[in-house]
């Protein structure tokens, strides 16, 4: 009964979405305030209906209603409650419903906080958002009904269970994060389309659209990092990035979203790059849609692909073509009138941001090309090829080198026309530190051509890190003003400046983690009997034996490993090899000891014939830096989001203090 109510809510939502897509748009065209005004209440109703549908599905999972096909196929009574709930989005239909829920959530948010938007822009934006929701509701209702009952009305005793690898706290929250990122870019898209229809893009538009893009980018950053972290500890061999098609599907929009964040700054501050920014907003969301298409249609083989279904593939392809084709057509017709804006020399802050866009867009297009190439080659009858990690590494790294080099310089350039020599002369400290780090890394790791790459990578990261600090130091007049003065300035820096600094430092930190881990990772695999020990990276793992244990829905072999250094115990680790009951599948639960800089990673495997166990030990140097860096980037995004100018944009959030600050301050 509740499942049917959920289904009914979705059908009702479809009609509300169609209404919201049509009426405010027509109203904006006619200048009819009442028709435009419909958008806000409609977005609230839409969100409520989809939330009810989502709760109905969640209810079916929580009470294990196996007469619902989706629950039967993806749940089991023995599962812990958390995984019953996360099972809702651990499958195609449920995750699609989550997609729509987040879409409507963003629509609602614009309706709520968009009070200061011009009514026609708000009406059109919400109308476009509703149009996207309409497309996805049609998709879910016609091809992927999550509430479908088992056809013959039978009631199975139990479900088939959720894939054990998904029964992990990291992965319970990874998909919603990632979706919030993907879907969040729909807001930038809707704003872009609305602006094209209005025929006007200005600084105010950029300021309105930027927080939404930031929110999406933050979610996507955390989502990708969470997925990487999960892969690292769950898959049992210490890898954290694989260039798998589905990883790429999230990384491609991240790269283009990063470009969008930067080009929107030029629109906001200098009224330039308008058409390009609009195009980026369209492309970024299109790439999110493309990712969905790739994962769900089966055109690309990926280990993660949801069961491929040609009907769904065709439907998504149609949805993709209508959405993207329609918006590109609108762009082709309307964008030429957007031209104009502030002039700037190639060497200027704007010029730097433009180069950033060139590199980010190229990186995004490159990853896209590599991901799609097997499909392209197959479609053109060029044969079956594999485009694996070595390809991506060999093309992506050369793009990141100039990116990081320029990232240190760009923020030092003035708007409009900059003095490159002056900027470079401020970076001599960074150059010195960078060369020092290069030399030390090269010598400490033993020299040789093989170490050159790692040393170069570390030097580059040091360049970016120091260069970013130099820029911050310049802002607060470090060493040129009394220290107290510098400290005061530091505190009073706009939060968007903090955001940029944190995010750029984060990139450097991620680079340290990536380069160092690839270069210095060690691994040993062996069969061990209890009492034996092995050395890795100056530490000793002693195997104290293994025993069978019983979990709520699995059995496991649990090993006991003592990690020691110079005879002193550092930690005791308990890796497990689990075998789940339903579906009957094994998983590896690695045990990791981290000292904050490096990880020691232990895995236990099957018993061997000679009475021992297969064990694997990994020394994972600087891997935590990946997570620190990603965290810094995400926090940087949050800091930027908290910037005063975004808050001032929304009157309902304005309080006296902020209002007082909003008066023009005298030039400092």
């Amino acid at each position: 009964m509740i499942a049917e109510l959920g289904h009914f809510c979705l059908v009702l939502a479809l009609f509300v979405a169609i209404t919201q897509a049509v009426v405010p748009m027509v109203g904006a065209h006619r200048g009819d305030a009442a028709w435009m005004g419909l958008a806000r209440p409609a977005s609230a109703v839409l969100f409520t209906l989809i939330t009810l549908a989502f709760l109905a599905l969640m209810h079916a999972f929580v009470v294990s209603d196996f007469s619902v096909m989706n629950v039967f196929q993806n749940s089991h009574t023995d599962k812990p409650l958390l995984y019953k709930i996360s099972g809702v989005w651990g499958n195609h239909e449920g995750s699609l419903l989550l997609w729509i829920l987040i879409l409507s959530g963003f629509g609602l948010a614009v309706g709520l906080v968009g009070g200061n938007l011009p009514p026609s822009l708000r009406a059109r934006t919400l109308s476009i958002q509703a149009l996207i929701i309409t497309g996805f509701l049609l998709f879910i209702l016609f091809t992927s009904n999550p509430f479908a009952r088992i056809p013959d009305g039978s009631l199975p005793l139990n479900g088939r269970g959720l894939n054990p690898l998904l029964q992990d706290p990291g992965l319970a929250f990874h998909p919603p994060m990632l979706y919030a990122g993907y879907v969040g870019f729909s807001m930038a898209f809707s704003f872009a389309i609305a602006a094209l229809i209005e025929g006007r893009v200005d600084a105010a538009w950029a300021r309105w659209v930027r927080p939404w893009t930031l929110v999406a980018w933050i979610f996507l950053t955390f989502g990708i990092a969470l997925g990487s972290w999960w892969a690292y500890y769950e898959l049992g061999w210490g890898g954290w990035w694989f260039w798998d098609p589905v990883e790429n599907a999230s990384f491609i929009p991240w790269l283009s979203g990063t470009a969008l964040l930067h080009s929107a700054i030029v629109v906001e501050k200098r009224d330039g790059l308008k058409a390009w920014t609009i195009l980026l907003a369209i492309i970024t969301f299109s790439l999110s849609l493309l990712g969905t298409f790739l994962v769900r249609s089966g055109v690309i083989t990926s280990v993660h692909a949801f069961a491929s279904d040609p009907t769904r593939g065709l439907f998504i392809l149609g949805l993709l073509l209508v959405t993207v084709g329609g918006s590109f057509t609108l762009f082709a017709i309307r964008a030429p009138i957007l031209k104009g804006g502030g002039l700037f020399a190639p060497i200027s802050r704007e010029g730097g941001l433009l180069i950033n866009n060139l590199l980010m867009a190229t990186a995004s297009a490159t990853v896209l090309l590599g991901t799609l190439y097997p499909l392209i080659a197959d479609s053109l009858d060029l044969g079956k090829v594999t485009v694996g990690a070595p390809f991506f590494n060999s093309v992506f790294v050369p793009l990141m080198v100039p990116t990081m080099l320029l990232m240190a310089i760009g923020p030092l350039l003035a708007w409009k026309r900059a003095d490159l020599k002056g900027a470079l002369s401020r970076l001599w400290v960074a150059l010195g530190v960078s060369i020092g780090v290069f030399a030390v890394t090269f010598l400490v790791t033993g020299g040789g051509m093989a170490r050159l790459g790692a040393a170069f990578g570390m030097g580059l990261a040091a360049w970016l890190f120091t260069g970013t600090l130099v820029e911050l130091g310049g802002r607060v007049r470090l060493f040129r003003a009394p220290f107290a003065e510098s400290a005061r300035r530091l505190i009073n820096l706009p939060r968007s400046t903090w955001g940029m600094t944190l995010a750029h430092l984060g990139v450097a930190v991620v680079a340290v983690g990536a380069v160092g881990n690839i270069a210095w990772k060690q691994e040993i695999v062996q069969s061990m009997k209890p009492g034996e020990s092995r050395e890795i990276a100056g530490h000793t793992f002693t195997f104290d034996g293994a025993k069978e244990i019983q979990g709520p829905n699995y059995r496991a072999i649990q090993g006991t490993m003592r990690l020691s250094r110079n005879g002193e115990d550092v930690a005791t680790l308990f890796p497990e090899k689990r075998t789940y009951d339903s579906p009957p599948m094994p998983t590896t639960e690695a045990a990791i000891h981290t000292n904050g800089v490096s990880d020691y990673y232990a895995v236990v495997g099957d018993p061997t014939e000679d009475g021992g166990y297969v064990t694997r030990f990994y020394y994972e140097p600087v891997v935590p830096f990946l997570w620190y860096g990603a965290l810094m980037m995400g926090l940087g995004g949050l800091a930027s989001l908290a910037d005063r100018r975004h808050r001032v944009g929304a009157p309902r959030l304005r309080h006296p203090k902020a209002a007082a600050k909003a008066t023009p301050a005298p030039a400092e």
Partner: protein
């Protein structure tokens, strides 16, 4: 600091001191259609891509002689299988295993082909943990094979470029591989593809 420019905000055009003439952009307008063109190309590729199955891998062996091999027989069942046994007439070599779910699905079709007596089917029992499992499986579900060879550690499978079971190779009288069928043979695939192919191959050989 290093700049004295005062321009800021969204309407800089008037402050640049340049005339307000609108230069036609017609010569660069095509640029705005570029995204649409890229999309159109991708759309065609995707539509073709949807009808291709990315998991089907064409065989490198087609029109090349079968590699030489000599496999041990399934214990307590007939003779072993070598590359010489395949020559003389068109034959099928079927990769199977008692662990393979899809093979069971294919099995009735193979039995029907064997009963028809149209072509010999040799089996390669691939990655059988214990040969007794293979024998028990054949006892239970019927045995359509002429000879069966054991391939416990994929020696032949790798030489044949096998990616999964079941797979079936059509080998002509001269021992040259002519076709590879991936996945279970369906009655339709047998009637429309394999049987006519075997007939043609027989006509072609002296």
């Amino acid at each position: 600091m290093d700049t004295t420019e005062t321009q800021d905000g969204p309407t800089p055009e008037s402050s640049d001191g340049l005339p307000h003439t609108h230069v036609p952009q017609a010569n660069r307008r095509w640029f705005y259609f570029l995204p649409l063109v890229v999309l159109a190309v991708l759309a065609v590729l995707f539509t073709v891509g949807l009808s291709n199955d990315p998991r089907i891998l064409p065989s490198e062996l087609i029109n090349r002689p079968l590699p030489e091999f000599s496999l041990e027989a399934l214990p307590n069942r007939g003779r072993p299988l070598t590359s010489e046994d395949v020559k003389g007439d068109v034959t099928l070599i079927n990769i199977f295993g008692s662990w393979c779910v899809a093979c069971l699905q294919e099995h009735p079709v193979l039995r029907a082909i064997a009963q028809e007596g149209f072509v010999k089917i040799h089996g390669v029992d691939w990655r059988e943990k214990d040969p007794r499992n293979g024998l028990a499986w054949l006892r239970k579900h019927g045995d359509p094979y002429d000879r069966i060879g054991l391939d416990p550690d994929s020696k032949l499978a790798i030489d044949l470029g096998v990616t999964g079971a079941p797979e079936t190779f059509v080998v002509d009288a001269g021992g040259v591989v002519r076709y590879k069928h991936i996945g279970p043979i369906t009655p339709q695939a047998w009637a429309e593809k394999l049987k006519p192919l075997i007939t043609d191959l027989r006509k072609g050989t002296p």
